[in-house]
């Protein structure tokens, strides 16, 4: 890892500030909160601005296939900002995970995603880990797909679904028009990334990968590595918002942020968030460089950052006290996102179990 730069680059800083400014302008917490009461109007509008106007849909698509040819480092910068604003857009599901699946295919769909003509979702549960069990729909002799996958993220925003189907010992991937599937919205813990149950009953689709298990697992691995950046964004917002609040809130005639019982907790949280930031960045940098350490780095980042984001959100609720329990304060949006993100793409425990194999620390014999 001797040559890998862990500091922010200028390109990334520019991208980050553009995304941050836009979100400050267009991602109003009140409109995000409205998602929980069924008003999803912010989603399409915000995604159009980010995907089309800023060109984020094609960030990870190579230039020769119609994209920006950026790397995981820039995608991580975007995800951190999206996490900081708890933005309800399908960047992770379409522009990272579905896009990475299609990088292994010569389908024209990739260019359509890059141009934001289409938005896609990989049809797996949001909880699926890169090295865990994957769903496989049945496919008959005529190429018709049948089956149900529950708790799929990004399906509600997608017009095309990437469906893993059983193919011998492996998996094939088909692209199916969302209109040909039943996409049933699920009341989700995190409504800013609302899930759906997807049912196909003899739908036909385009075969994009005949031998696609490797591509699907790579896509989930990229998603997991980069989800860490989103978790850092969530954690940073929670930390900073709590610091700001404790400087203002007065009890016993002083700002409560001056009490050691509270400031020591924030100091510990700061150390955790700085560490999470470094872990997420190392995961993104190794992924971008195709470094042999990328798999360990991603497992470490996921084992660490998911817990830190949850801790940051939980500490924020406790330290905001009464106001932290209200629907009016946006904190609950972050708590719900943090908890859902902790389970997404493999729990910290699942990533630790994977790590045990990678670093040769085997479990006790049973």
């Amino acid at each position: 890892m001797s040559d890998l730069n862990l500091l922010t680059t200028d390109v990334e800083a520019d991208l980050r500030s553009v995304v941050r400014d836009l979100l400050a302008d267009r991602c109003d917490p009140a409109a995000v909160t409205a998602l929980y009461d069924g008003d999803r109007s912010i989603v399409a509008e915000l995604w159009k601005v980010l995907a089309a106007d800023l060109g984020l849909a094609g960030l990870l698509v190579p230039e020769e296939r119609g994209g920006d040819g950026a790397t995981a480092v820039e995608a991580a910068a975007v995800l951190e900002e999206l996490g900081r604003a708890v933005a309800p857009v399908p960047f992770l599901t379409s522009a990272v995970v579905a896009t990475t699946v299609l990088l292994d295919s010569d389908s024209e769909l990739l260019a359509a995603l890059a141009a934001n003509e289409r938005t896609a979702a990989l049809v797996v549960p949001l909880s699926a880990a890169p090295h865990g069990a994957l769903p496989a729909l049945r496919v008959d002799a005529d190429g018709r797909l049948t089956g149900t996958v529950t708790s799929v993220a990004g399906a509600l925003e997608a017009d095309v679904l990437l469906v893993p189907a059983a193919a011998g010992d492996g998996l094939a991937v088909y692209a199916v028009a969302a209109a040909d599937a039943v996409v049933a919205p699920v009341v989700s813990l995190d409504m800013t990334r609302q899930l759906a149950d997807v049912t196909l009953a003899g739908a036909t689709g385009e075969l994009v990968l005949a031998d696609g298990e490797g591509a699907v697992r790579r896509a989930l691995a990229a998603g997991a590595a980069l989800l860490a950046a989103e978790q850092v964004g969530v954690a940073r917002w929670c930390l900073q918002t709590t610091i700001d609040y404790l400087k203002e809130r007065r009890q016993f005639g002083r700002a409560v942020g001056g009490f050691q019982a509270l400031k020591h907790r924030l100091a510990d949280l700061f150390a955790d968030v700085e560490s999470a930031d470094a872990a997420a960045r190392y995961a993104a940098v190794t992924l971008a460089a195709g470094d042999p350490d990328a798999e360990i780095a991603a497992a470490v980042a996921q084992a660490y950052c998911g817990d830190v984001a949850v801790k940051a959100a939980e500490e924020a609720v406790q330290l905001h006290a009464g106001i932290g329990m209200t629907w009016e304060h946006p904190l609950h949006l972050y708590l719900k996102r943090a908890k859902a993100d902790q389970i997404a793409l493999g729990t910290p425990g699942a990533h630790r179990a994977r790590l045990a194999d990678l670093i040769d620390l085997p479990a006790a014999a049973s």
Partner: protein, 397 residues
């Protein structure tokens, strides 16, 4: 970073040229180290003329690796941690040309080991309360007082010292920073036995110790500012050290795990994996901190690294004893010895467990570090300081 690539290639060439002219096998140890210093290949991020080449700090690991691979003698950094980690950067920043010229070279080569005379029985976390007095007498200062927790004082030629030079001023303002000769007859070093059984630390009694004014570092009354620079470097040198994966305590425990399948339990496995992840994240965080440092002076952010390091060392060494089970009940040796180096991971598991208790106390307690982070990094309100504006001599001791 094309620039750094060029610098790296140039550095490799210079090291190769140096090794061609100074065969490590045929050159006497201290002559080799002095020549390496004079060639600007000691701490390469120091300026030319003071053992360096004005290169990015990131290249230090490269130059150390090249010399190690060639079988060259090193300067035994484990025996002079305070000199290399704290005294040297402070002398570089605040010293006069004459002081840099006099002290840096023998410090780097290890001919002169340094220790730190900061803490006192009545001034631990509250370092600015130091009572050791330095009184001006012509061209020198006469020092009287007692210092404590002084690692390596029994081997040291010099000490960085803070002493009170003006008791009429409030406590932070009346302190001055000195480079104190440990060979002065008024310096009495007594071992301080610790919970490990050995005496790595000392008590140091100073009686009419004479320090020439030319060995004052920084202006009279500026000691607080100078010592803060030292302490920021200390926290970085304690918290930001390891480079390779599984360095330090986590490596020791992981090896025990691999070599002893019979000791494994599911509960210990889960705890070990969590701590392994934390240690790996701390390593990457330290690496990033060093990349930041390469661009400037250490700030209070180093405190977070030290906080994490202490917690991990304690949790890992505690886990190791449980993993060892019956063997964890035994201790190698309680005999009082005075070791030549500070070694967090040496000896046996019981020693490591006990020694690690010091990690959250030495170099600023974890509680003080949390105050520093909260106040200087996060900008939260400072602790009430009732004694801040009162002349030192009027304070309740």
């Amino acid at each position: 970073m094309a620039d750094e690539t060029t610098q790296r290639a140039e550095l490799r060439r210079r090291v190769a040229d140096f090794l061609a002219a100074h065969d490590p096998a045929a050159t006497e140890r201290s002559a080799f180290l002095q020549a390496r210093y004079d060639a600007g290949l000691a701490w390469v991020y120091f300026p030319p003329g003071h053992g360096g080449s004005g290169l990015p700090r990131a290249l230090q690991a490269e130059v150390d690796r090249l010399f190690a691979e060639a079988g060259a003698p090193d300067n035994k950094p484990e025996s002079n941690g305070i000199g290399l980690g704290m005294a040297a950067p402070t002398i570089l920043r605040f010293g006069t040309e004459e002081q840099k010229e006099r002290f840096l070279r023998p410090l780097w080569t290890g001919e002169e080991v340094w220790c730190q005379l900061f803490s006192e029985p009545g001034a631990g976390s509250d370092l600015a309360a130091v009572a050791t007095r330095a009184v001006r007498d012509g061209d020198s200062w006469v020092v009287n007082g007692q210092k404590v927790w002084t690692s390596g004082a029994h081997n040291a030629a010099f000490a960085i010292l803070v002493a009170r030079t003006d008791p009429d001023l409030p406590k932070h303002q009346g302190i001055t920073y000195f480079l104190c000769p440990m060979t002065d007859p008024g310096v009495d070093v007594r071992p301080l036995r610790q919970i490990t059984g050995e005496a790595e630390f000392n008590e140091v009694f100073l009686t009419d110790v004479r320090i020439p004014d030319t060995q004052r570092l920084g202006a009279e009354g500026e000691g607080w500012k100078v010592s803060n620079a030292t302490l920021n470097n200390e926290r970085v040198s304690i918290g930001g050290g390891a480079v390779a994966r599984e360095s330090g305590m986590v490596g020791v425990v992981s090896r025990t795990w691999r070599e002893h399948p019979e000791l494994r339990t599911p509960e210990l496995h889960d705890r070990l994996l969590r701590l392994w992840v934390d240690a790996e994240v701390a390593r990457v965080t330290g690496r990033r901190l060093r990349q930041k440092l390469a661009l400037g002076q250490p700030g209070p952010e180093g405190s977070a690294a030290k906080l994490t390091f202490a917690r991990l060392a304690q949790q890992l060494s505690g886990l190791e004893l449980e993993l060892l089970g019956e063997a964890g009940l035994r201790y190698s040796d309680w005999t009082m010895v005075r070791p030549d180096k500070v070694d967090f991971t040496g000896r046996d598991a019981g020693y490591r467990y006990l020694r690690a208790k010091g990690n959250s106390i030495e170099g600023g307690t974890s509680e003080i570090l949390r105050n520093i982070i909260a106040e200087r990094v996060l900008g939260l309100p400072a602790e009430p300081r009732v004694d801040k504006d009162i002349p030192w001599k009027e304070l309740r001791k």
